[in-house]
Subunit: 369 residues, 2 copies
């Protein structure tokens, strides 16, 4: 167990945005919210997954909805209090710890806020090791766990308890509810025992985010931006694909998601190359000169060319200069069931998943020839 | 208490369609469903409102959604069993009787099916005395009762328990859920005590439907169609406005509703007159030669010219010859709160509500001059 202070929270927000792959919500908004709660209620206790009891009732706290809207609609905490209370009544048991459902600028911060307000322990685990757009896209689903009974709640006091036949139905219905609640809503789902969480979760995601954030925060202590970038790539086992300028952005909020495509033009040693990233909240596919370079579930991250600050798809601006990174996803996703759930074909791309390291190698080989 | 047999059910379905004002669902589908349940499980006991206990827990059973879709999606009963069971768990009490939320070809039949399948008493009461398109449009709302806790359930086994801050939020969220469940879903809402139901409900709606249905069924025992029509108008205190031919139908299913306008051309003594009826599931406003003749909450009914069979807005056919009737709504609607909730302005018509009898009188006066 360790305590998280305000600086830790900022670092986690930064790192989570990198793993957020363009989605997961705005880290500035997320951090403000979590820091406010910690300032008011005191520091949060972060437990390693190995430290929690097998019989604890653990419930992730998360926001559902289009990240573009979360900027305008700040959760006030009451929605999580209500969501937990309805779920506890349903289960006849008190929630004993919370954790993030995913890595993301907002969704990594929400459980910190909840932990601060409720005094619940926070666990260093999530259910993706990245951010993903749909509710059933969780390593918990891969282990056969149901998202339901699940509660969706808004800041006005409305709550909705779902009991569904599978996680795809939970996603469908909860998404429609969150749209009506103002395009974003609080969610308490996937109530698991400590033992189930240890087996089905991705361990150490918050710590990894914190380490990434620390490198970016201390960029000026590195001999060069390149050296800091290399430290990040070593930590995440990732690859640097391209530096580029944003030349076009299409971004539409529809059915509770942000959909879009970002067009890029290579700069520096990548000058002359054309590239694109398509997203559904999160970046799904990255192509360079028509060639598929990275696909979900591997993580397609865009960072500022100079500061290495990771960007969400709401931060995109015409002319902005960025770097494209590809980070391998958690091994739990690299299974047949994982690829079926979150691979490119699920998102309607006629492309087979190939690990980012293979795509990177075959591309650099082809360049050498 | 009396028993309802198969013929009673058919009569109720017919009469409920007249009070359904173009909405409320297809009476043939509704009757099939209720008759099937009665044939399988035995007759249903119909109680007068005065006969039920003050402390009974009463819950209406209804379908929510676009009537056009209900034709294709037959409820199998399990959705109501699940909806009641979730609501009972929430309230910690067993439901002791059920009743229709509104008069309509489907929604008057659903509680008969539920009563037959569960053995629960059916109460001769509803919460509208007609059909209305939105969930908060209920005399129960006028008496300050909440629709929530409310359960929406589908035939697959998905259930959603809503606890909302007001009935407008219940409508919004439940509508979105019902759309995702396939545009129509089972609803258990407005859990009331017997005493509350007696105060806030519209008494005798099922009996009234049955009497209307009996007149239409025995049309050939009347000296003329006109005589049978007069018997209906006497029973309902209604007015005969026009006979006409349908010349145009616009009908769009959107956001869980059927929206549209029916254009009519007068025939017989009404030849030369142009008229229109606009609807949102139910008919909202009837105009003749540009003059407003009937508005919600009074009941705008279209019946077959010859058979007097009432028609829903899914039965409309180009060239069909019909009669337009205007029936006064229940007195509970003719209050300021009632008119605000379901009057023409709520449906975005820039028209003040005037009682159908006044509009009829001033029209016939103007014709005489």
């Amino acid at each position: 167990m360790k305590y998280l202070d305000v600086d830790d929270i900022k670092r986690i927000a930064t790192g989570a945005t990198m793993l957020g792959a363009g989605g997961g919500g705005n880290p500035y908004v997320g951090a403000l919210m979590a820091i406010g709660a910690v300032r008011e209620n005191g520091r949060v206790k972060l437990y390693e997954a190995s430290e929690i009891g097998d019989n604890w009732l653990t419930v992730p706290s998360s926001m559902m909805g289009a990240p573009a809207v979360q900027l305008e609609k700040f959760p006030n905490g009451i929605e999580f209090q209500n969501a937990f209370s309805v779920l506890e009544k349903k289960l006849g048991k008190k929630v004993q710890a919370t954790f993030p459902i995913e890595a993301g600028g907002v969704n990594s911060m929400i459980p910190i806020m909840v932990a601060a307000k409720t005094g619940l322990p926070l666990i260093d685990v999530d259910s993706m090791g990245r951010a993903l757009p749909e509710l059933q896209m969780s390593t918990f689903s891969l282990y056969g766990h149901d998202a339901s009974p699940m509660v969706v709640a808004d800041e006005k006091g409305n709550t909705v308890l779902l009991e569904t036949i599978d996680n795809t139905w939970t996603e469908k219905i909860a998404r429609a509810v969150s749209v009506k609640m103002g395009a974003t809503a609080a969610v308490a789902s996937f109530a698991l025992t400590g033992r189930e969480l240890k087996e089905a979760g991705v361990w150490g995601t918050l710590s990894l985010c914190q380490q990434i954030g620390r490198i970016i925060e201390s960029l000026n202590t590195y001999p060069s931006t390149k050296a800091a970038l290399e430290a990040i790539l070593k930590l995440t086992r990732g690859f640097y694909f391209m530096s580029a300028k944003i030349t076009d952005i299409v971004n539409v909020t529809k059915d509770g998601f942000n959909f879009g495509t970002t067009k890029l033009e290579g700069i520096d040693q990548f000058a002359g190359k054309q590239a694109s990233i398509s997203f559904q909240n999160e970046n799904i596919i990255f192509k360079m000169d028509g060639r598929v370079m990275i696909t979900a579930p591997d993580i397609i991250s865009m960072v500022d060319l100079d500061t290495l600050q990771p960007m969400t798809n709401e931060d995109l601006k015409y002319g902005k200069r960025v770097r494209i990174l590809g980070l391998p996803c958690n091994a739990k996703w690299r299974t047949q069931a994982g690829i079926e759930m979150v691979g490119p074909r699920y998102f309607n791309y006629d492309v087979d998943y190939q690990p980012v390291e293979d795509l990177y190698d075959s591309y650099t080989d082809s360049v050498k020839k």
